[in-house]
Every structure is written in structure tokens, then in C-alpha cells.
Amino acid sequence: MASLGNFIEVLSGGLLAGVLYSLVALGFVLIFKASGVFNFAQGSMVLLAGLALVRSLDFLVAHSMPFAVAVVGALLFASLVMAFTAWVIERFVLGPLVNQDGLTLFMSTIGATFIIEGAAQLAFGSDVYPLKLYPTDAWFALQSLFPGGVLVNKLDVWGGLIAAFLVAGLAIFFQRTKTGRALRAVADDHAAAQSVGIPISWIWFVVWLVAGLVALVAATVWGTKLGVQFSITFLALKALPVLIIGGLTSVPGAIVGGLIVGAGEKLAEAYLGPLIGGGIEYWFAFVLALAVLLVRPQGVFGERIIERI
């Protein structure tokens, strides 16, 4: 019984941690789906959103504002910062590159990464800033079934709820609204989208705004978990295997990919770790992604690549 309890604990912890990877991966998927651009800057956008949030929150609290009001104010401020970033990126990075190749756009986002990272730390500082928006204590479930119960981190549960809410909303937005359709249209064909009067610059602004807001949501969760700090940008690396496994073009895929990566690496650590010496958590996701690439290059949920010859 104890080993089953242990298994459930590892599995649930892994799944919930995986959702947090999904939150970062979602930002990638959104931009890729909507503009065909692989946005290397997503990790740096999480950092920027987090810094804007935590610094303005500290500022408001220091000026004796009630915590709840300060949180709302800080979220608004961070949203504005992300909107401004979206506008700048559209105006100065992507706007001049309409009708260019996907790889060109990808390279331009690498440049944007360094600028965002630098500007964020210049404007808001480069220390580690603790953030506490969600409860971080543990919660012992199923105590009647297993001795000692199953340990669940409350923060991870919050992360899961937020991700579920976000995905449902984004799915409706993409499938059922004018702007959602226009986003997908621009991703498929710039010229055709222009010919029916879809304003590409506005669409790109909306895409980057939505990705910025998703980055902000990810920053609230990851910032609470790790503190807002530069190393948050490395989350982007963990999102890559999630994307490969789930498929670059699928919102549900980002979630399922995150779950697979999270559960996989925790289970591998707990059960394979003792056999081959541990430290599996750091590379397991990448090996899993390689395996998926061999079998199903478009990912589990990705769109089939249709090419007419």
C-alpha cells in the first residue's frame, strides 16, 4: 500500500509540475499557430512580465496599499507593459518583415530575446524577487487510505486550475471568433489574408499581446514557486520538449505534452533514478522528445503536414 501511495504522490506531483511547463509552452504555441513564427523570446517575456508584476507590487505595498488592491494594480501595470512590448515588437521587429520566410522571423525573435532580457533587468532590477500570490504550503490528501497520506503542493493545484481555465478560453477565442480566425489565416498565408482585408499589423499585435498575457500568468505561478529571477528564462528550454511532444500547433497538445513531460521525468527520477544513478529529471524530457520526433514528427496533437506535389 505504501508503494502505491508513493506512486500516486510522484505521479500527481509530476502531472501538476507538468502543467506549469504547459503554461510556458502555451505562449509558444499561440504565437506559432497565429503567425507561423517560433518565438524564441517567450522565456524572456515571462521574465519581463514577472519583473514588472513583482516590482510594481512591492512598490504599491510599500506605499501602504491593501494587498488585494495592490495585486490588481500590479497585474494591470504588468499587462500594460506586455501590451507595450507587443506593440514595439510588431512595429519594429516583425512589421518590416511581412511576407518574409519563417526562419527570418525566427532569427528576429532571437534578437528580441536579448533586448527584452536586457531591458527588463535595466528597468526593474536583476535581483531575485520573492512573489507570493498563491498558497505554497503542502496538503496531505487521502490520509485515510495511505499512511501519511499523499503530499500535494497547493501551488501546483492552483497552476493546474489556471491552466485549464486559460486553455478553455483560448480554444473558444481561436475557433469561434473573427480575430481568432484572422490569426489562423495570417499564419497560413500573409498575402491571402491581406487580400480579404485582414490587417496584419493589428493581428500580430493581438497575438503578441495574448502571448504576453499568457507569459504574465506563467510568471505569477513560476514567480511564486522560484521567485522572480533571471533563471526563469531557462523555462523556455524546458518548454521545447513539451512542444515537440504535444505538437507546435496545438493548444491541447501543449497541455498534454506538459503532463507527459512532468509525469515522465518525476516517475523516471523516482523509479529509474536509484538504478542508474539519479539526475534523470534534467535530461529525461529531451530524450522523450527525441523519441517522439522519430515516430511522429508533428507531435501527438500537431496538424498533419500536408504537402501537394
Partner: protein
């Protein structure tokens, strides 16, 4: 012979049928050292089907791209609805009622037929981003209204059966039809068709010809048409402009153009 007059449902007040809707004057377009269009002038009158023909590389598609704003000519003016300008912009062209299809079918391949045509309604939908984000109020209401318009287009083009199919999977002839549907969804005043029948079999060509005639007569839509099938061009069009090496070598009714010696030379070649 359709003269472009007495069209039903013609509600646009500004330009009367038979008057000049669009005029290009002395347009020159070059890419580096290559002159794609050399000083071409012609006009398109409201309500007519205007064909643009010529051998490969004559500058026909470039001409459409100039009209619709994808290419910006070095010199010359484009006068649309009496408003002269040096260059069009694709977005402006679309808002002012110029729609088009593409030579190599430019559809949104991952999306369904329905979504492709709905994308053509973008300019007609006016709900706010916020309303769409919460999917409530005007966004929801307009989705339903515009879906009705799109269903009419789907009925008209007889593509009911492929409504939900991703267009990337459709055969070429049907893709061309969906593309026409998307252009129609913008309710264009001027419709530019770039080789609407390329790669089609006889039956598909007949269907497409029928749609073009119906659109022109029932909706009163003015059309500019690039086509290589001379039978189709002579049957469908009211006036024909002939380009060769970026120059306008003939302009007139199908009969006049057919008899023009320069046109015959351009198509059959001539020994010098």
C-alpha cells in the same frame, strides 16, 4: 453580349454601370533591371467582365498585383472610383471593395472551407476584441449572422459537402472554388481573378464559367480576369486587354482583338 447595363441589384451610388470604375494610367513597374510593366494604360468599366490576356511573362499577374496593392509601381496612377493614387495598399484595396483570387491558390490550408470563407467576412464584422475574448454579446450574434451569409455563398458555389473539410485536402478544382467563395464573402465591387480555370478539366471549367457569369449578372460584380483558355476568354468577357513583354499591344472587344495582327503574332510567333 453583355454590355454591363441594366444589371439588377446594383445599389452602389457612386459609379453608374458602364462608367469607368478603375483606370490605370502610364504604369511602369520594374524589379531591379527587369521591366515587368512598361507604360500600360487601360480601364475597367463598372459591371463588365474585363479579360487580361497575353503570353507567359507578359505582366498580367503583376498588373493585378499593382491594382490590388501588392506591388507598387515606380510611376503611373491608379484611379479607383474617381480617386487617383500612385499606389494601392492591400488593406485599403480590400476595404474599398477590391477582392481577388490567386494564380497558385492562396487558401488558409489548415482551416476548413467554412472558416476560409468566414475569414472573408472579417471586414464586415465589427465586434470588439473584448467581446470576442469573452465570446459574448455582439461577437456571438455576429458569428451567427455572418454564418448565414457564408452558407448562401456555399450554396451558390455548390460546395455544401466540403463545408468542414480542411481545404489542404481538397482537389485543386474545389480549392479554386473555395478561393472564389472567400473573395465573394467580402462582397466585392471589383473582383480580380488570376487564372480561375488553370489546371481544371472541361467540366470544372464549365462550372467555373457558369459561376463567373452568375456573379457578374446576378450580383453586378465587375471582374478582371486573367485566363489562358481563349475559348473561355472570348465567351465570357466584354472587353479584352492584351499584354506582351509588359506592353499593352491591343485593347477592345473579343472580336476586334482576335483579328488584331499584333495579337496573332504574339500568340503564334512571327518570322522577322
Amino acid at each position: 453580349m453583355r454590355t454591363g447595363v441594366d444589371k439588377p441589384n446594383d445599389t452602389s451610388g457612386t459609379i453608374a454601370p458602364g462608367e469607368v470604375l478603375l483606370a490605370v494610367e502610364h504604369v511602369v513597374l520594374s524589379f531591379g533591371g527587369v521591366k515587368a510593366i512598361r507604360d500600360v494604360s487601360f480601364d475597367i468599366r463598372k459591371g463588365e467582365v474585363r479579360a487580361i490576356i497575353g503570353p507567359n511573362g507578359a505582366g498580367k499577374t503583376s498588373m493585378l498585383n499593382v491594382i490590388n496593392g501588392f506591388y507598387h509601381p515606380q510611376t503611373g496612377t491608379i484611379t479607383y472610383k474617381g480617386d487617383p493614387r500612385q499606389r494601392m495598399r492591400p488593406y485599403i484595396a480590400a476595404t474599398q471593395g477590391i477582392a481577388r483570387t490567386f494564380q497558385n491558390v492562396a487558401l488558409f490550408k489548415g482551416m476548413s472551407t467554412l472558416d476560409n470563407i468566414m475569414a472573408g467576412r472579417t471586414l464586415k464584422m465589427s465586434n470588439s476584441l473584448f467581446s470576442q475574448a469573452v465570446y459574448w454579446g455582439s461577437a456571438l450574434k455576429q458569428e451567427i449572422e455572418h454564418r448565414e451569409v457564408v452558407e448562401k455563398i456555399i450554396d451558390f458555389l455548390e460546395i455544401q459537402a466540403i463545408r468542414k473539410t480542411p481545404v489542404g485536402k481538397l482537389p485543386y478544382g474545389l480549392q479554386k472554388r473555395v478561393e472564389l467563395g472567400r473573395a465573394l464573402a467580402t462582397e466585392p465591387e471589383l473582383l480580380l481573378l488570376d487564372e480561375p480555370m488553370a489546371g481544371m478539366n472541361l467540366e470544372e471549367k464549365q462550372d467555373m464559367s457558369r459561376f463567373i457569369i452568375d456573379i457578374n449578372q446576378q450580383l453586378g460584380t465587375t471582374m478582371a480576369l486573367i485566363e489562358h483558355d481563349m475559348g473561355v476568354v472570348m465567351d465570357l468577357s466584354d472587353r479584352v486587354a492584351v499584354l506582351e513583354y509588359g506592353q499593352l499591344i491591343a485593347d477592345g472587344t473579343p472580336d476586334e482583338v482576335q483579328k488584331n495582327q499584333r495579337v496573332i503574332d504574339a500568340y503564334l510567333g512571327v518570322s522577322h
